[in-house]
Every structure is written in structure tokens, then in C-alpha cells.
């Protein structure tokens, strides 16, 4: 299964890199005589309402989202791990500071922060810069929930019998952290990462309401997923459902590919 997952991800990565050679048109080329076309010879997944090739847009959107969303997730989980782990490990006043910070981040509407960010950003930003800024902001602002989970898990492990036994047997704190605690927290980090990827992809799509996120003509998986709302009135369910299928396959492949949830003890 692992091999299949790896194969799928490699195939996807190749398709994303060589996408422009696999599809008949650029993602922004408008075939205005063939709008909303059904899948066929010229357009394997049909065209969208402006006549743009859906397959080309899917590959371009996947390239944007599947590179930047995991990157943002890595950033968010790294921040979450650093703060959650340190809060759980050191406890005391630092734990209170981090917990307050987490509560603050969760309680402050993230959209307000993003509206402020949009207000200070220049308008003339290229579509790719815009989407990169968005994922960077998502990564920087999206760590709080994961940090709370990681802090809780860290505290649970620190109070568990195996850590107490390790302490009693004279293990150093560094050894306990690196050999016992981190490997056991790995499943938590892994799950948080896997949950964050599709979350960030969808967040990016919603952020277009604030003028952040991907801008025309660049597609993203999120913006393509939003077109699913047209499904009831469209005959091209293949073209509309393809982004959701691709996202499900990718997230599923990550799930199989990453090391298993069972940690060392």
C-alpha cells in the first residue's frame, strides 16, 4: 500500500511539473467558443464557464496548492510543536504564557487579522505572490489549535508510567525528550499535519473573499473545489468533481506514506 501511495504521489508530482506538456492548453487560455464544454477529445475534463481547459487548470491548481499547503502546514506544525512541547515540558509560568497565547490566537477572529494584512499589502501583487503570501500567513496564524493538542499530549506523556520509570532509572532529561517523548508525539504531529493540509487548501479558497489567496487567472485546488457548488446544475460532473478526487487521493496517499501512528516507547 505504501508503494502505491508513493507511486501516486510521484505520478502527481510529475504531472504537476510536466503538466503543461500533458494538456492541450495553458490554464488561462480562454476558448470562448467552447464554454462549459463537456469532457472530450480537445478538453479531457471539459472547460469552465470562461472556456478554460479544466484539466490544465486542475494541474496548475494542484501545483499551487499541493506545494504550498503542505509547506504552510509544516510551518504551522513546527510552530505548534515548538510552543506546545515547550509549554508541556517546562510547565509553570511559561505554560501559562503559551496557553494564554493559544487562547488569544483562537479567540481573535483570524479573518480580522487577514483583513488587516490585505489592507497593508499592495494591490499590484502577481497572482503567484498573492497565493504565496496567503499560505505564509495561514502557516504563521494557523498553529494555535495544533499547539493546544500537542501541549496536552506532551503533559499526558510526561505523567505516564514509562516516563516516570525512565526518570527513576536515571535517564537524562535530554534523553527522555529525544528518545521517549518525541517519538511518542510523532503520531500527534503527523495527524495534525495531515489535517492541516486540506484545511489550508480550503482556507485559501475562502480567503479570496478578503482579496487574499489565489487571484485570477491562476487556479488553486481550493478555488476549483468551490466550483462544486455548480454540480447540481452542471452536466460536467467529472470535470467539477476531479479536484475533490485529486485532493482525496493526495491526502489519502500522505496518510499511507507517512510513518505509522504507533510511536516507540
Amino acid at each position: 500500500m505504501k508503494r502505491l501511495a508513493a507511486g501516486l504521489l510521484i505520478a502527481l508530482a510529475l504531472a504537476m511539473v510536466a503538466g503543461q506538456f500533458l494538456v492541450p492548453a495553458r490554464y488561462d487560455q480562454q476558448f470562448r467558443e467552447s464554454t462549459d464544454a463537456l469532457p472530450g477529445g480537445d478538453h479531457p475534463l471539459g472547460t469552465d464557464e470562461l472556456g478554460r481547459d479544466r484539466a490544465a487548470r486542475l494541474l496548475a491548481g494542484a501545483r499551487v496548492s499541493l506545494l504550498l499547503a503542505p509547506a504552510a502546514s509544516v510551518l504551522a506544525i513546527a510552530l505548534a510543536a515548538m510552543l506546545g512541547l515547550s509549554a508541556g515540558w517546562f510547565g509553570g509560568w511559561w505554560d501559562r504564557v503559551v496557553t494564554t497565547l493559544i487562547d488569544l490566537m483562537i479567540s481573535v477572529p483570524i479573518f480580522l487579522v487577514l483583513i488587516t494584512a490585505r489592507a497593508v499589502l499592495p494591490l499590484n501583487v502577481s497572482p503567484i505572490s498573492s497565493v504565496m503570501i496567503t499560505f505564509l500567513l495561514l502557516g504563521l496564524l494557523g498553529w494555535a489549535g495544533s499547539a493546544r493538542v500537542i501541549r496536552g499530549a506532551c503533559q499526558t506523556h510526561l505523567n505516564s508510567d514509562y516516563i516516570l520509570r525512565a526518570l527513576a532509572s536515571g535517564s537524562s532529561r535530554t534523553r527522555i525528550l529525544l528518545v521517549h517523548l518525541l517519538p511518542n508525539l510523532w503520531p500527534v504531529l503527523r495527524t495534525q499535519f495531515i489535517l492541516a493540509v486540506p484545511g489550508f487548501i480550503l482556507d485559501e479558497a475562502n480567503l479570496s473573499l478578503l482579496g487574499l489567496g489565489v487571484a485570477e487567472p491562476l487556479p488553486s485546488l481550493g478555488s476549483l473545489l468551490k466550483e462544486l457548488t455548480h454540480l447540481p446544475s452542471s452536466a460536467n460532473w467529472v470535470g467539477l468533481a476531479a479536484p475533490a478526487l485529486l485532493l482525496a487521493i493526495t491526502v489519502g496517499a500522505f496518510e499511507f506514506l507517512l510513518p505509522p501512528k504507533e510511536g516507540a516507547s
Binding site: 490585505r118 494591490l123 501583487v125 482579496g211 485570477e216
Partner: protein, 534 residues
């Protein structure tokens, strides 16, 4: 026992009230007829208020209402209204000439957008009783198009204890649950009869549910829980046309347009070289000629619009300048003009004489799929002549902040809602001192010769009574706007509405309100089915 049987029989035989249901997209700010300034309040005013005359929404011409006839004198400054006799307000208070005088006194006393439009400076029209059923209204200045103002002036009772709640329209406010609904009941004293002499209105009640969510409104319409939608977007219209073809109504070209303009405000925090492009009519015309308007109408508007011509849409049959046509798509010609103006097309794009890459952003409001499609198509069209366009969607408050206060934007794509047939309603847009003179508002004095000419023409037509002369002057305004292209008119949208198959007699019109201008004549059919739709 006999009483009980009669009571039961009465209960069984009593018909359910016939309720016509529609949605308002926001809570009305007021029920006062003189204070209604926004669409929700204007809807309630339209359905409840009685006026001296009415603009026929189909012919777009005035016709008698509470006044059986009228006559102008003094070169158009004075209007003598002859009132109908024996009319009553909704609470039974008689309608008299004193009520008309009282209403005009209230216009003088109340400050609102509507009353401001009836004033000329600080002077308000003065009404005096000149006969038992006759009132003479004297305007301080010539007021061309006064009929459309009187069309919105709901008569108020001077004597009724209910004050402004006593109305002369077909309906009256019967119940109001803030945030939920407004129920308009039948006015028992409404004076108009149908062709067979039967009392109007034909429905017992109009229920206006307050629903900001358009998707929910459409869903309820499909279920028969809402009978009419006054305005639907092209996407929704198309979806409805597939699912309920008998329900969609296209009234034709509206007064509304989608337009693009460049920021020419001197205080705009944008680079000087960009301001120079935007202030150049050659640049603006070249951009205009590089946009395929026919495609915009066909694709972005789903074929439910016509290519944009100018400030007045072809739907405004009285004021449209027939000599104007939409700009023809001619990118080669546009590029030639730009080259003559010092621009240069290189392999990677267009550059100005100073070596700056021609690139600008277009802001529009987020969440409007139609505008996003328009912007994406314009982006592609301008890309053909080497202009790089960055599209930015902003939430509406941020967008308004940028285009009206900070002026921190380069180009904007937005639609202007114009429900007023008369050019005087657009004064704030065309006068260079106007706050909605979008490309460079609030000018102390006109910045260009053509803006000065427009100022002069707009003021002159406002002082002229003869329609033909006014039309001549406003035709020239339209021609100047076409030549100078401060606004690039992209498309004129159609009036798209939805009327449930259970509704009979609904008159769909280009003028507001699009589906219920004859609300008192509307009937519901198939009551067994649709009465239950509450």
C-alpha cells in the same frame, strides 16, 4: 347548539387569507414615506403610499392617481392638481386638499435623501389650496422631471390620529417582526377598482420576509414559499431557467451597467506615471477598444446583457442617445494609437515612453461571480495588447474605503445602480464637484475642459423644461463621455426576475419595482396548492 353548528360551519367555510410572499434583502430603515431612501423602505413605500400621480412602469410616462388631472403653468414652475373626490386614508380619514398641503409642509420639515431631491437648495415646493379639490404646487425653480419626484411622494394625513401610518396605497403595514417579516394587509379604503368594478387589491396580504441570503430566497422560491423575486443574478436566472422555465422573466435591458474606470484623482497614492496613463484619453480609449464587449455579454453575463454603450442604457427609451454604439473590438487599432502616444509593445508586454511596464490592478467586490468573470475576461483581452492586469477582489467596505476615501486603487470594476430615468438623478455622478464623480470626485473646479463642458450642460438641462432641448443637451453629455471614456461601459444588464407559476397578472417592467408595480392586480392561482406555502 345552533350557534355551535353555525360557528363550525363558518370555520369550515372561511377561506384562508391569500398571501403573496416576497423577500426583502434587508430590514427597512423606516416606514415613513418621506424618509425612505433605501430599497427595502422604498418597497414598503411603493406598496403602501398613495401619490398624486404615478409613473406607468411600462410606458415610463406619468398617469393620474390621487389627482385626476393636472396642469402646468408659469413656464413649468407651477402645477395645479385636481384631486379625486370621496377618497379616504386606510383608517377612514377623508383625503382632502389640506392633506396635500400638509405633505408638502412635511417635505420642508424633514431632511432625507428623498426630501432633498424635492428641494432646490433650501427652497421647498409650496402647496396651497386653490379650490375645494384643487391644490397648486409652486416650485422655487424650474424642476424638469418633477413628475418622477411626485411619483414617490406618499400623501400623509393632516388629521388622522395614526399619523404617517394612515396611507392611501393598496396595502398598509399590518404587522412587523424586526429581522423576520413585514406583513402588509389590505387597505379597506383603497379607492381603485378593477375592470369589473371589484375592490382591489386582489390578495389579502403581502408578506415580506427579511432574508439577506439569496440562495435561501431561491430555495424557498423553488419550494413555492416565496412567490416572486424582484431581481436575480444571471447565474441564478440560468439555473432557474433550467429547473423552472415557466418562472423566469427577462424584462429586457435595465438602466444598470457594469463599468470600469481608472483612478484619476490627483491625491491618489499611485505612481505619477500611472496617473499620467489613466488621465490620458488615448490610453482609456485604447483600453476600451481592446475589450470584447460582445463576449462579456455572451459569456460573463450568460447572454443576459447587451454590450455597454454609455451612461444611459438602451433600456431608457426616453434618454438614450441613439447615435452612440458600443465600442468595436479593435486591438490593432488600439495598439497603433498607443504607439503614437509613445507606448511600445515588446515581446514581454507593453511599455510606456518612460520604460515602465504597463501593468495595473483592477479592484472589484469579492463574492460577485459575474464581476469576477468580467474581470478575468478583461484581463485576457488586455493581455493581447501587452497590458498586464492584476485582479484584486476586496470585501465591500474595504473597496468603498479605497474608492471613496483613500483613493488607493488603480482601476475599479463596479456596477452603478440607476433606477432614475431622468438625468437629473445622475447629477452627483456627472458634476465634477460630485462625490460620486468616481474617477476624480469632489473637484473644486473642473480639472479638464470636457468635464467643464459636462458641468455646463448638466446644469443647463436642469434649468430647461422642454424635453427635446434637455435631450439634446444630455445627448451631448453622453457623446462626451463616450469620447473621453472616464467610465468604460462594459455591459448593460437585463432585468431578470422570477415569478412563481401560481402568480397571475404580474407586470414585469424595466423600472423599479420590476415584478410588483401592479401589486394590487396580482392574483394567486391554484390556491389549494399555494395557500399552504407559508
Amino acid at each position: 347548539m345552533k350557534f355551535l353548528i353555525l360557528l363550525m360551519a363558518g370555520t369550515l367555510l372561511a377561506a384562508d387569507p391569500v398571501i403573496l410572499k416576497m423577500c426583502l434583502r434587508s430590514e427597512p430603515k423606516t416606514f415613513h414615506p418621506l424618509k425612505a431612501d433605501e430599497e427595502a423602505s422604498e418597497t414598503v413605500r411603493f406598496l403602501t403610499a398613495g401619490t398624486l400621480l404615478k409613473i406607468n412602469r411600462k410606458t415610463q410616462l406619468p398617469e393620474p392617481s390621487l389627482a385626476a388631472k393636472w396642469k402646468t403653468a408659469d413656464g413649468g414652475k407651477t402645477v395645479k392638481f385636481e384631486l379625486r373626490e370621496g377618497l379616504q386614508f386606510s383608517d377612514g380619514t377623508p383625503f382632502t386638499a389640506e392633506d396635500v398641503v400638509y405633505t408638502f409642509q412635511q417635505v420642508a420639515a424633514i431632511r432625507s435623501g428623498f426630501t432633498d431631491s424635492l428641494r432646490q437648495g433650501e427652497a421647498t415646493p409650496v402647496a396651497t389650496v386653490t379650490g375645494k379639490h384643487e391644490v397648486t404646487v409652486r416650485f422655487a425653480e424650474l424642476t424638469p422631471g418633477w413628475e418622477r419626484l411626485i411619483d414617490g411622494l406618499g400623501m400623509m394625513s393632516a388629521k388622522s390620529p395614526l399619523g404617517e401610518k394612515a396611507v392611501m396605497g393598496a396595502f398598509m403595514v399590518a404587522d412587523h417582526k424586526p429581522g423576520q417579516y413585514i406583513a402588509l394587509g389590505r387597505n379597506p379604503h383603497y379607492w381603485v377598482r378593477d375592470a369589473q368594478g371589484k375592490a382591489l387589491p386582489k390578495v389579502d396580504q403581502i408578506r415580506l420576509d427579511i432574508t439577506a441570503n439569496r440562495d435561501l430566497e431561491v430555495l424557498r422560491f423553488k419550494r413555492g414559499e416565496v412567490h416572486m423575486i424582484n431581481k436575480v443574478e444571471p447565474d441564478i436566472y440560468q439555473a432557474l431557467a433550467t429547473q423552472m422555465p415557466e418562472a423566469v422573466r427577462n424584462a429586457g435591458v435595465s438602466f444598470e451597467s457594469e463599468q470600469l474606470w481608472f483612478n484619476q484623482a490627483g491625491k491618489a497614492p499611485i505612481p505619477a506615471y500611472k496617473l499620467e496613463w489613466f488621465r490620458s484619453p488615448v490610453f482609456r480609449r485604447a483600453v476600451s477598444e481592446s475589450i470584447q464587449r460582445a463576449d462579456l455579454a455572451k459569456i460573463a453575463m450568460k447572454g443576459l446583457a447587451v454590450p455597454g454603450v454609455g451612461p444611459v442604457s438602451p433600456g431608457n427609451t426616453v434618454w438614450f442617445n441613439q447615435k452612440l454604439t458600443a465600442d468595436v473590438y479593435a486591438p490593432t487599432v488600439a495598439l497603433e494609437k498607443l504607439k503614437k502616444a509613445g507606448f511600445q509593445k515588446k515581446s514581454d508586454g507593453l511599455y510606456d515612453a518612460g520604460g515602465h511596464r504597463v501593468e495595473f490592478s483592477i479592484v472589484t467586490n469579492a463574492g460577485n461571480k459575474t464581476r469576477e468573470r468580467l474581470a478575468a475576461m478583461i484581463q485576457a483581452d488586455l493581455g493581447e495588447i501587452g497590458i498586464r492586469v492584476n485582479m484584486v477582489t476586496l470585501d465591500f467596505p474595504s473597496l468603498l474605503e479605497r474608492i471613496t476615501r483613500g483613493f488607493n486603487y488603480e482601476a475599479c470594476l463596479l456596477g452603478f445602480t440607476n433606477v432614475d430615468q431622468d438625468p437629473n438623478g445622475q447629477m452627483n455622478v456627472w458634476l465634477s464637484s460630485g462625490a460620486t464623480h468616481a474617477w476624480s470626485p469632489n473637484q473644486a473646479k473642473p480639472e479638464t475642459a470636457w468635464e467643464a463642458e459636462i458641468d455646463k450642460l448638466m446644469k443647463a438641462q436642469a434649468r430647461t423644461v422642454v424635453l427635446a432641448k434637455r435631450k439634446e443637451m444630455f445627448d451631448r453629455v453622453q457623446a462626451i463621455v463616450h469620447e473621453q471614456a472616464p467610465f468604460l461601459y462594459l455591459v448593460h444588464k437585463n432585468v431578470l426576475t422570477a415569478v412563481h407559476p401560481s402568480v397571475r397578472n404580474s407586470l414585469v417592467t424595466v423600472l423599479f419595482p420590476h415584478v410588483f408595480s401592479n401589486a394590487e392586480q396580482i392574483e394567486l392561482q391554484g390556491l389549494g396548492t399555494y395557500r399552504t406555502a407559508r
